[in-house]
Symmetry: C3
Subunit: 271 residues, 3 copies
């Protein structure tokens, strides 16, 4: 069972979800992916799951960034081709991760009272709905016992900015800033290949960044395979260990140094 | 075995306590409730335990926010009616949690050398006293083997501000600000019931907040059952998922927006 | 298996390493020592291991603060006299911890493809090299199966400032600031003994701190065995629970109050 939330590690909520799982399924291995997702940032959590799930054992994965808790948004169990069950609200948080586990095989709505806590609050479904369901899945309860089937085509999608691929030109958005200050783009290695063909390490790229329609920032970076291929303090563009394209500065926080943040739009061109 | 401390996750102290437990009781399930309790804030930790313990399996629960470490304050093992043993210093940290687990059945002082580390430092009793005792409790050592009995009536209490219930009027203090910036009050659902009778969702309340005797801040909020019952950016007063009364702003941090913090005193009246 | 990194708890990297270990060795106990080591601070991580490892069960300990990832720095497995295997880059991170576990018995380079993930990235060796090797060690794979032997004398050392011991005078550097703001020095109890003989609690010490060649700061502190031996807000010098000499302020953050940070050089004299 894995847990991904924006609950914060100072508060007890994450531990409570873990406790609820272990109360129902004492033999379960519980792995915290992150409880420090930026508050209400559904897309951030979706990206973390996209990164992490392929490296976790097959299991039940709870994801709760849930600004709509207590409304009529559906609580879901999403089964993947790899055999995992993803549990969370119908706000798109589960979909990129499910895609990376082979895609969705079926979706059920968590309505069965048998697999919830006896009292379900209006503000903490992680504890009352999702964690207990995950624990029961870990014990072998099949996903269709959790509630009625739901059409995968009706799921709410998370807004995920797509890259634009041109001739020797690629435009993509910053979708995540990691704790090192590295900037992860909404583009993957195949998009760079499609735009530029094969890039040799050291190739200079001209970048133009726009934030919220403000004046563009221009700077140069080198395509690299490792951080150490550029000098300390120099910017690089590289394929990260998940196949995602990133902008970073060797030994420094690119977000701070370049004044960039999530949702900035970047144009990359050969210099 | 659960662990709640103000040790901070950057430092190794929390992991060391976990390691000590696992060295003695390798089969123990260890759950971190929080290691990010604000430094020296005994009441914060007591509140986290009050929230979390009912959702954790019966077990040994270590709580260390211990500004008096190395003085003659007593190291305690507190047994509860549910069957848990709470371990920590005699500064009140254990009492609200024990209350929620059915109340105290007996208290013993950790004096038995058999259930400590061989050398006990003057500055890290979490590692040297409380974690080893918890591990031995998890292995089945009864609480009266840990040291001499202590009168529960002699325990140090944590300062816990009580609500004042009036006619259509309730006064309570902010006792905790969570990581979302929600403000938790020293009042529970029954106090609201006693002051106002049953409140319909949408009922307007006038609030007056005083901090440290400064000029009062006045604002209006609505009683709600879910965040989404008020617009984004609007304040609400609600019963949280533990039965505690809270003040929040939908999709924002109320502490920042309203300029309020722990120990502010709030008067609530029907508008 | 323990994990110590600068990956940050917001990002998924730490959980991915845990997932990789559990995928290979589902029965392994995984303990996070810290994932909040200050970015790129090899010495900080080395100190955390020095503190923590003696209190953890014998096992495989992964440490990754690795600014040189992707270069030709070696990935190592270091076996200790206690029977542990420490895994991490050849940048000194493993050595103080190994010393505390009885010293190094043998060192091997992680070259065996059998004990890595199938694809090894250039930027995430924690996931692709170190975590899988640790999991295999936990399953019983001997350290010499991981790759060729390496001469322990050829290991890269971490820069660790040494104390200068004079007649009633000790000079040492701040090597770590903990989450309480306590300042840990590059000096141990035996260094104080060598400089001053036995110090009685309450003995006044004159301190002179120099940062980066700036003007010295002078202040007085008392030698103490517990924080409570000085008044709230007063500075003390004490032997911490690991035998290390520290400078702190009772109930406050000494780093902020005294304006000191890592690498400041401190002269201590009897007042």
């Amino acid at each position: 069972v894995s847990l991904t939330t924006d609950f914060g590690l100072r508060d007890p909520s994450a531990a409570i979800c873990r406790g609820v799982v272990l109360g129902i399924a004492p033999e379960a291995l519980v792995v915290d992916i992150s409880h420090e997702v930026a508050k209400y940032q559904i897309r951030d959590a979706a990206l973390l799951l996209w990164c992490a799930l392929p490296y976790l054992p097959v299991g039940a994965h709870v994801a709760v960034v849930d600004p709509g808790v207590g409304t009529d948004r559906l609580p879901l169990a999403v089964e993947t081709a790899r055999g995992d069950v993803l549990l969370g609200p119908d706000n798109g948080i589960l979909l990129p991760g499910a895609e990376r586990l082979g895609g969705i095989t079926r979706v059920h709505v968590l309505e069965s009272h048998e697999y919830r806590l006896p009292v379900v609050s209006r503000t903490f479904h992680g504890r009352d709905l999702f964690a207990p369901a995950a624990a029961h899945v870990a014990l072998g309860v099949p996903v269709d016992a959790l509630g009625p089937a739901h059409d995968p085509n009706d799921l709410v999608q998370v807004g995920w900015p797509m890259p634009e691929i041109g001739q020797d030109e690629l435009t993509a958005s910053i979708v995540y800033v990691d704790t090192f200050g590295n900037l992860k783009l909404g583009a993957e290695a195949e998009d760079v290949q499609a735009a530029f063909g094969r890039l040799e390490p050291g190739t200079a790229l001209d970048l133009e960044a726009t934030i919220d329609g403000g004046p563009p920032k221009r700077f140069r970076a080198r395509w690299a395979e490792t951080f150490a291929q550029v000098a300390d303090g120099e910017p690089l563009v590289y394929e990260d260990s998940y196949g995602r394209i990133c902008l970073a500065i060797n030994q420094a926080a690119a977000a701070d140094r370049l004044g960039l943040a999530e949702d900035a739009r970047l144009e990359l061109r050969r210099a």
